[in-house]
């Protein structure tokens, strides 16, 4: 734009110079013509021209022979062949002196400078004007069409921007231009490949589940039959039984961890009631509680949040099974739900040894077990060995992250024990 403008200015100046030259040439021609016309009467110039032109004819002896009415009576310029400038009749004039050898007289011709400028200016402006107006108009047109041309690109960028992390569906554009169609096709092919590989991985998890679960089922059923037919070997198979339970638990937890990992798990969020889920989870695990003669209570009211029911159930299953595991026989457990500072709260309290403050951050690491840190006598004091696989709280952490929930560890309200509180950011009344 600026360059265009500068070249227009340059063109204007060049044009003015050119016009000057052609006006000067015109003056010489007119001077010649005036000089050549014999009769003075015929020397009358057209009215229009006469206003802007003036001339005098001087004899060689220095006598004014003739002049136009607008020319002064004195010499209007030096008697010297060529161009010059002069001021008279309140104007500035361009003058031209010509000595005619044939007639032996001087022709002094003058043309008004302002008229020359005005005419030159008009000619040049008229020739430049279309360009000067044209540039911004062209700019607008270019802007409009480039904008239009790029609009599919903006739409594409917008779609990409809005895309959810786990949304691998193809991008859609109506009538994309040819160049963009290629990009679109490549991006969609990439999406497709990514989506396929995610599906394959999920498929792998479910295949692995089947592959691992069936052999465990087989071990269990044959152990059951063995015990049924040979009840006398119960003591010998106790280790077998407990290892099998550990294996079963580990497989479950690995699959749960995999399914609940943020990048794998496409949560279907819906309105759920934390209190009701707590009821269900307690009911599911009641047999383990009963086995350890522990007592459990659920306090609080219905708390509705938007969450994945499967994930929240898994979260609570893990917290409760930890609470059962780490609390001694005959002790108390408590789950409570509620709303505090407009945030939904889910809290699981146990009567176990608790976790000292310094170790509280560590428990969220995979394969960390609280018993690893426990003093030996405390670990031995447990009536039954604690058989965790160390994945429980890592799963809990994953699920909490997906729900933008915080996990706080503190002392339980019982004599000893840990309180795990999950604080959800939003609550729906």
């Amino acid at each position: 734009m600026l360059i265009n403008f500068l070249s227009a200015v340059q063109g204007y100046r060049g044009g003015m110079n050119q016009a000057e030259l052609s006006f000067d040439e015109q003056l010489t021609n007119i001077a010649q013509i005036i000089s050549d016309i014999d009769s003075f009467d015929n020397r009358e110039l057209p009215e229009m021209v006469s206003e802007t032109l003036a001339y005098q004819i001087w004899t060689k002896e220095g006598e004014l022979q003739e002049r136009t009415h607008n020319a002064p009576v004195e010499l209007l310029t030096h008697l010297e062949n060529g161009f010059n400038f002069a001021n008279f009749s309140n104007y500035r004039w361009r003058t031209y002196a010509l000595f005619d050898e044939h007639h032996q007289h001087w022709v002094l011709l003058a043309q008004r400078m302002d008229i020359r400028y005005a005419m030159a200016d008009r000619i040049i402006v008229e020739s430049i004007m279309p360009i000067v107006i044209g540039i911004p108009v062209t700019g607008l047109i270019i802007w409009f069409f480039v904008g239009r041309g790029l609009s599919p690109l903006y739409k594409l960028a917008n779609q990409l921007h809005k895309k959810h992390v786990e949304d691998l569906s193809p991008l859609k554009l109506d009538n994309p231009p040819q160049e963009l169609a290629q990009v679109l096709q490549s991006v969609n092919q990439l999406m497709q490949r990514l989506s396929d590989s995610v599906t394959r991985e999920k498929r792998f998890a479910s295949d692995a589940a089947h592959e691992l679960r069936t052999p465990i089922s087989i071990l269990k059923i044959h152990l059951h039959n063995l015990l049924h037919e040979h009840p006398e070997i119960t003591a010998e198979t106790a280790e077998f039984q407990s290892s099998l339970s550990r294996l079963e638990h580990l497989v479950d937890q690995i699959l749960a961890l995999y399914r609940c990992a943020p990048d794998q798990f496409i949560a279907k969020f819906e309105m759920i009631d934390l209190y009701k889920i707590a009821q269900d989870v307690i009911a599911q695990q009641y047999q383990s509680i009963e086995q350890k003669q522990q007592s459990i209570e659920l306090l609080g009211d219905a708390v509705k949040i938007k969450a994945s029911p499967f994930a929240i159930e898994t979260l609570l299953q893990n917290l409760l099974s930890n609470a059962i595991k780490y609390s001694p026989e005959g002790s108390e457990l408590r789950i409570s739900t509620g709303i505090k500072n407009a945030q939904a709260i889910l809290c699981v309290e146990d009567s176990g040894p608790g976790i000292i403050k310094e170790n509280r951050a560590k428990v969220f690491e995979r394969f960390y077990r609280a018993t690893d840190e426990m003093p030996i006598q405390a670990a031995n004091a447990e009536s039954s060995p604690v058989t965790g696989c160390g994945l429980g709280l890592a799963i809990v952490q994953n699920i909490a992250q997906q729900h933008h929930a915080k996990i706080e560890l503190s002392d339980s309200s019982f004599v000893s024990g840990l309180a795990v509180t999950v604080v959800f950011s939003g609550v729906d009344e």
Partner: protein, 219 residues
């Protein structure tokens, strides 16, 4: 009681067959969906135990086909898939129950007994827990040798608790078993029935799990 076991894994099938035979069931075993449908057509069993992961036909399709032939035949699904969606899909397709692998044998037996009682053909229709025994055919309830007089709802409540002895029944699940959709339920109706049952059975027989529901302890 004739069971049809549809399971493609030979080792699991043989173990299950033996365990079920030990419990007094007659067990027929097939390894493919095709076979299963044939057997259901020709010598209809009393209960089908169906593994969803079959080599030839998807288990849910086998279930659909069984339903077309035998609308009332009880089917218990056995599967390694255990997500909530799978469960819902299984029960929607018409399964009577759903058990995820790896399962405990006592759990499988308990569920088979519930299906058996539903058929009304069980050899023993009595559930006996502690000092109370309940007959699902004659609806008699005997505590310490004395027959009790129970209202219909009290009987249904006790049966639900005894059938699931050792487990907690949530208030919601008990209420849905006792009342149909259009029944008005007074907010304390359940407590009233429990209170009456405790007067007849002794205060400790039904235990309250605070905030959750009720349970009868398994002996």
């Amino acid at each position: 009681m004739q069971l049809l076991l549809v399971e493609d894994d030979p080792s699991l099938a043989s173990g299950l067959q033996r365990a079920l035979q030990n419990e007094g069931f007659a067990v027929n075993h097939v390894a493919t969906g095709q076979h299963a449908l044939q057997v259901v057509k020709t010598e209809t069993p009393d209960i089908v135990i169906l593994d969803l992961g079959l080599p030839d036909i998807d288990g849910l399709d086998v279930l659909k086909n069984i339903r077309k032939q035998q609308a009332a035949l009880p089917v218990l699904l056995l599967t390694a898939r255990d997500t909530l969606d799978d469960k819902v899909a299984g029960l929607d397709t018409g399964a009577d129950d759903y058990l995820a692998k790896p399962f405990d044998m006592p759990e499988l037996l308990a569920r088979l007994r519930v299906l058996e009682r539903r058929l009304g053909t069980a050899q023993s229709n009595d559930i006996s827990i502690g000092h109370v025994s309940l007959s699902t055919t004659s609806h008699e309830v005997i505590a310490d040798g004395v027959e009790l007089v129970l209202s219909k709802r009290e009987y249904m409540l006790l049966k639900a608790l005894m059938e699931n002895a050792g487990k907690v029944q949530t208030r919601n699940s008990l209420e849905s078993k006792l009342y149909s959709w259009d029944d008005e339920i007074a907010s304390n109706a359940l407590e009233v029935h429990i209170h009456n049952l405790r007067k007849k059975l002794g205060a400790d027989y039904i235990k309250t799990v605070r905030g959750v529901g009720y349970t009868v302890k398994k002996v």
